[in-house]
């Protein structure tokens, strides 16, 4: 008989436990409206939380930019507005979300083994007005976090009820229109939350994006967040044209303008439907949480990054459709124990299960019509994980959080090519340890060690031949380990100021990247990153707050590549300075300066992208008690800079051979949006 020790012990524990009502792991009391103190709460200098007010005060061109409340994180766009954002954090070009785990209301946003990019994170379904909080954590230091969390984790949660119903209407330049209504009401002993959003945006592009979005949320909840349950349905649909990155040479010699495009049929459409539920029970001695979800995602995506290099007649446009059903369940249980007056500990056990049933492919297309199939797959990817974490307060000055996680992945790929079909599996055990020492009233020191991982595209784990070139390839491992080390300090020694400083190292066994436009997975070299992050929030007066974040990172590949050891796209620095003024009168305003640091574009560092500096601003005017007018301005200084740069070869019509060149997507020029917000 196979011994099952955990269920036995769990049963024994439950048999003797008694129920009391309590709450734990709560934020400290907010009395001055300042950002909530993380002293005594966060386990590392890179962890934190942003509340609804923080988020409402952000000036976001697109919903994904809400994640920029995480110090050091940049969210940009390199294509049509409906596409997943491009993320940068901790010396990574995270592509569309590789190594940044994003969660909304207990549902994973990252899509694994995605047709276009591993960990695809499309946040366009997010309705900012509903977000109650965003918790972030940088580095692989928590056993609770699994796939894609090595650079960081951002978890957003929607509120169960709104203090006031809200309706807003926005008009802006470049065809921007948005209407949104959200509210909640008590119903059948619980709360019914609803939201509806319709949006249109063309952007500054010669061929308008014509991005049309329709978004809806309906939630019913009973009880309190820590003692109750909720069921949520969400629906999102978006359709758009894309202006993909363009070759610098064609702009410089005047063949095209900065906002022109090469292939005028790029674009896509996305559909997302989800049904999810969260149940939580908290008492004096324990807390339990179970969340379950079913998500249906559909994406049609047409891109052309090399123009006429591979097919001078039809062009190189390709389609990457992806349809999937993701189901999962997460459960945690925490025991809260007081041993003595000063010694207490929380022991948490958790289990996570996720299954993805995926149909995706890669096709050559011309004006969105399929002309050839590169690959076509049915993927079933199933993962399970168990973790245990012990958070112990040894004394008033010392606490530790130690954990271990075991993750198991199973990949099954059935495709149009027998040699690239099969099954694979991988298991990884990852320990974490956090030590927090704070003998002073308002300062804490952190030492963090942890292992994390990202999963690789399932298609790479069983591949034997490159479907494009027909060359033999080696299968890649399913899971890739990372190791993080960090020292940090957080202090509130200066009155009304919160400061944190972190120095970290993050090693990856292999920078594995799925080459979306080639249809295979490339096993890269090991890598090492060092970085420093400095974050400040200062609120000298009730109506004035200033935040200043700066991050620097050094990323190097460690495989002895003769071309060089740089990691293309790896960001070297990020900084933000924000000033928010909110006096008691009708006027309020904020300004935000963002520095998006330089990136090497090829391994030998001979081609680099420039840093860019952008300024966004907002002015609010209260017309009546519950009626506000807001004017938002983006890129106020009208900088000409790139949202992204790549260096690779492409060929335009009329060119005899491929040309290695910088390809870029410009940031949007200065634009304004005017919003009327009514609350009741």
């Amino acid at each position: 008989m196979h011994l099952r020790p955990i269920p036995c012990v769990l049963a024994a524990l439950f048999a003797t436990s008694t129920a009391h009502a309590d709450d734990f792991q709560l934020q400290r009391v907010l009395v001055e409206g300042a950002r909530a103190s993380q002293l005594g709460i966060a386990d590392s200098a890179g962890a934190g939380s942003a509340g609804a007010r923080d988020l409402a005060g952000r000036i976001a061109y697109r919903p994904g930019e809400l994640l920029e409340v995480t110090p050091g994180l940049i969210a940009s766009q390199h294509s049509g507005e409906g596409k997943a954002n491009q993320f940068y954090l901790r010396g990574f070009n995270l592509d569309h979300g590789t190594d940044l785990a994003t969660w909304v209301d207990g549902m994973p946003v990252n899509q694994r083994s995605h047709a276009h990019g591993q960990g695809w994170t499309d946040l366009n379904f997010l309705i900012p007005e509903l977000v109650g909080r965003l918790d972030y954590r940088k580095g692989p230091y928590s056993a609770r976090e699994g796939d894609f969390s090595s650079a960081g984790v951002a978890a957003l949660s929607y509120a169960n009820r709104l203090v006031k119903n809200i309706a807003s209407a926005t008009v802006g330049q470049d065809g921007y229109r948005r209407a949104m209504v959200a509210g909640s009401q008590e119903a059948a002993g619980g709360s019914l939350l609803y939201a509806l959003e319709a949006m249109h945006n063309d952007g500054p592009w010669t061929r308008p994006d014509d991005y049309r979005k329709l978004n809806a949320v309906l939630r019913y909840s009973r009880g309190f967040a820590n003692n109750g349950w909720s069921v949520t349905a969400m629906s999102y649909r978006g359709d758009w044209n894309s202006t993909d990155q363009i070759p610098l040479r064609a702009v410089q010699d005047g063949r095209i303008g900065r906002f022109d495009l090469i292939d005028d049929s790029d674009g896509g459409e996305a559909r997302r439907l989800s049904l999810s539920g969260i149940w939580r029970r908290t008492d004096a001695d324990s807390a339990s949480k179970v969340s379950a979800y079913a998500i249906r995602n559909r994406l049609e995506l047409f891109s052309n990054f090399t123009y006429y290099q591979d097919d001078p007649v039809n062009g190189d446009q390709f389609a990457q459709p992806d349809g999937r059903i993701t189901t999962g369940i997460d459960a945690t249980h925490t025991w809260h124990m007081h041993r003595t007056d000063t010694l207490s500990s929380d022991l948490t056990v958790g289990a996570q299960l996720q299954n993805d049933n995926i149909f995706n492919g890669l096709y050559d297309t011309r004006k969105r019509e399929r002309i050839a199939t590169t690959r076509e797959d049915h993927i079933v990817e199933t993962s399970g994980a168990v973790f245990i974490e012990s958070a112990t307060r040894w004394s008033d000055a010392l606490r530790t959080v130690a954990g271990v996680r075991a993750s198991n992945y199973r990949f099954r790929v059935d495709g149009d090519r027998l040699e690239n079909a099969g099954k694979a599996h991988d298991t990884l055990v990852t320990p974490t340890l956090n030590i927090v020492y704070g003998p002073w009233a308002s300062t804490e020191l952190y030492a963090n060690y942890g292992q994390g991982f990202h999963s690789n595209d399932a298609r790479g784990t069983v591949a034997t031949v490159d479907p494009k070139t027909m060359e033999a390839v080696d299968p890649t491992p399913g899971l890739v380990r990372s190791r993080g080390y960090e020292f940090g300090v957080r202090t509130e020694a200066i009155p009304k100021m919160q400061t944190s400083l972190a120095v970290y190292r993050l090693d990856f066994d292999s920078e594995l990247t799925y080459i979306g436009d080639a249809g295979n997975t490339e096993a890269g070299d090991p890598s090492r990153r060092y970085g420093i992050e400095f974050s400040n929030y200062y609120r000298p007066l009730k109506w004035l707050s200033i935040d200043l974040d700066a991050a620097w990172a050094r990323a190097r590949s460690r495989g002895g590549n003769p071309d060089g050891d740089r990691v293309p796209g790896a960001i070297e620095g990020v900084a933000q300075l924000g000033v928010t003024v909110d006096p008691s009168g009708p006027w309020s305003g904020s300004l935000r300066l963002r520095w998006f640091g330089p990136r090497p574009l090829i391994e030998d560092d001979s081609v680099r992208s420039n840093a860019s500096l952008t300024l966004n601003g907002r002015i609010g005017y209260r017309l009546a008690n519950d009626l506000r007018l807001e004017l938002e301005g983006f890129n106020l200084t009208n900088r000409r800079a790139s949202a992204i740069d790549y260096f690779y070869a492409s060929q335009l019509q009329g060119e005899a051979a491929p040309v290695a060149d910088v390809h870029f997507h410009p940031i949007e020029p200065r634009s304004l949006r005017l919003t009327l917000v009514k609350r009741w």
Partner: protein
């Protein structure tokens, strides 16, 4: 380390902690009610643990509250008014005016007033603040009548009590 080894470690860790005795925090609120002869009004002063009120609002609305902000104070006012009241003999509620509140890191003090009404008109008191959120919450109401103080204890089992 294999998965099986991890399971064994987990089980051992669980066994170690299972024998530990547990203690829990006490949750209580205090409400002082007295008649002010000078103004002719009945004055009500509530004191709650700031942590409990913070947790209540966080878990009710899913966001943090700034109780120095009048709009956020208003949310707490509606919550308290829905759970605390004094009723007259004919079961009508005596109209309590919200005077204001003070907040510090430890406690939240709320001031209410029933204008031109002696405490003797009070027949029943309901005090359910925080009891719906924290089943162990105990609220003590001190009735200060003619210099004598009488204490009533409210809990999940006793949400409403006679004032006399």
């Amino acid at each position: 380390m294999t998965l099986r080894a991890v399971k064994m470690w987990c089980a051992l860790a669980l066994l170690c902690v299972s024998t530990v005795a547990s203690a829990h925090r006490f949750h209580f609120g205090m409400t002082d009610i007295s008649y002010n002869e000078r103004t002719g009004s009945t004055e009500i002063v509530h004191t709650y643990t700031a942590h409990d009120i913070e947790a209540l609002l966080l878990n009710l609305y899913g966001r943090q509250f700034d109780l120095s902000d009048p709009e956020d104070q208003d949310v707490l006012r509606k919550y308290v008014e829905g759970r605390f009241w004094i009723a007259a003999q004919d079961a009508t509620r005596l109209p309590a005016t919200w005077i204001g509140m003070t907040v510090d890191a430890n406690s939240i003090v709320i001031y209410q007033e029933i204008g031109n009404t002696p405490l003797t008109r009070a027949a029943t008191i309901r005090q359910g603040v925080l009891i719906d959120f924290l089943p162990e919450q105990v609220n003590t109401v001190n009735l200060n009548t003619d210099g004598a103080v009488r204490s009533l204890t409210f809990s999940r089992k006793a949400l409403e009590q006679p004032a006399r």
